[in-house]
Amino acid sequence: MGAPLYRLENLAYAYPGRPAASPFSLELDELAIPEGEILALVGPNGAGKTTLLMLLAFLLRPARGRLEFRGLDPWAAADGAAAARLGAVLLTHHPYLFKGTVADNVAFGLRLRRLPEAEIAARRSEALALVELEGWEHKPVSALSAGQAQRVAMARALALRPRALLLDEPTANLDAPLGLRMEAVLRDAGRAWGTTVVLSTHNFSQASRLAGRILYLSGGKQVEFGHENCFSGPAETDGRTSWIEIGPGLRLVFAGRVKGRVTCVIDPSAIRVTAADGPAAPGAGPNAFRGRVSRMEMTEAATALVRVVGEAVFRASVPLAEIERGGISLSREVLVTFDPASVRIVGERSGESGEHQ
């Protein structure tokens, strides 16, 4: 990680028509995003994720505070925002493709930058290969499906090799395997070109898989906890493992020796859910929590998202076969287990103490 690409201080944005009591749609005290970082914005609808991305793309002007890009405040100079936009590209949730062909679209930003035709052709081919659309140059965009359009828009952004790639739910229109492959593309692009990636997502698994850091937003403000599977508190250690208390007498154990205040997350796919009284119930070990299934949602990848409420709230991504085998159903009493090694520390402040979830 390098120097901050973005630095935000006391930043606020207000959409017109907000009530006087809470005039701002987004308020952030302080945030630095280093060069090359992948930052995920997670939060419910209306949390301010898209607004933050629009601010980072210099498409909205902050109502208050300072937003620095590469050490400068683009809004302070007359053409500063337009110049900054050349380095920060936003891919919107429902991307718009200009009329014409795939090639016209992918070359659009390159032509604006007046690159030589040979380089435009090379970058266009490279970007289309990255999104698995080689040879699609001459297809009219009117013939594309929503998922293909999303990939063309992603290629159009990747072709620019921007300093900052801002993505609003980038894999929303893609099926699960393709979504995973596109995540790899984003990660590789970040590494290869030193691109800073900021993405918003409702998909907590995606955020924890892809991002080096997760920013939780709720009601236009940064919050410490925004989701199931995210816990925070002062850590204690016995030298081999560490833990935080997530409830009276309830320890969430993780690998390593950690002291100070930590925020940690557990990938939903790393969590096992078994019937509490079933034959497959594991014996007592670290990270075993009782609860009842409060919700089950089917996903596209032959798995279901299972929400368990009990000693703590967890959300697990469980293969359908396992659900069938274990007799997992709504209201069933279950045991949630996961390996300490699967607990990921996403925030650490040494020497501090605070409340836990």
């Binding site: 050349l86 200009f98 009117s142 620019l160």
Partner: protein, 217 residues
Amino acid sequence: MIARELALAVWISLKTSGLAALVASALAVPAALFLAGRDFRGKKLILVVNQTWMAAPTVVIGLLFYSLLSRSGPLGGLGLLYTQTAMTVGQVFLVLPLIVGFSYTALRQVDRRARLTALTLGASRRQAGWIVLREARFPLLVAVLAGFARAISEVGIAMMLGGNIRNATRNITTSIALETAKGEFRNGVILGVLLLVVTLGINVLVQTGLRGRDEEP
């Protein structure tokens, strides 16, 4: 009506109305782009006034400009009355609200994301404006052609400001009026059909020339 006279009337129609449509478009499209891209106090009033202006009878516009351009009028010194220039000026005033209205609707229908996408891919605000126009090029073309059709088919302004002077300001519509007044209804109908054929030809030419690769006509 001899062939040369007829050809000249067609040429005068095409010239004055074509020029009127182009000048009006040059004023109307930027105005529509401005109106479509911004919300401000008084915008609704502007749109209502524009809508009302569209319904103005050609004779009223002709009369208005006649009073301005006649010898005793404030612009009488310019000596424009009974010239093709006067006809063009009157027709610009006639078709301007029509092109503003059609262009405004066309530009409002362009996805707002088009401008946003252009900006985030590095376009300046001016370039983003051009891109919005490009995205709406076919409905905008329809707006310009509608303006041209309105101008070439009107008779009130051409008659009052042009004076229907043979070989100077007589166009197709004033020729039709003259032939009808003379009781030469057959000639009037032939000229009417000719007017439609000329307009059809212009429409086909322009739309074929500008049709995009993946566009509906």
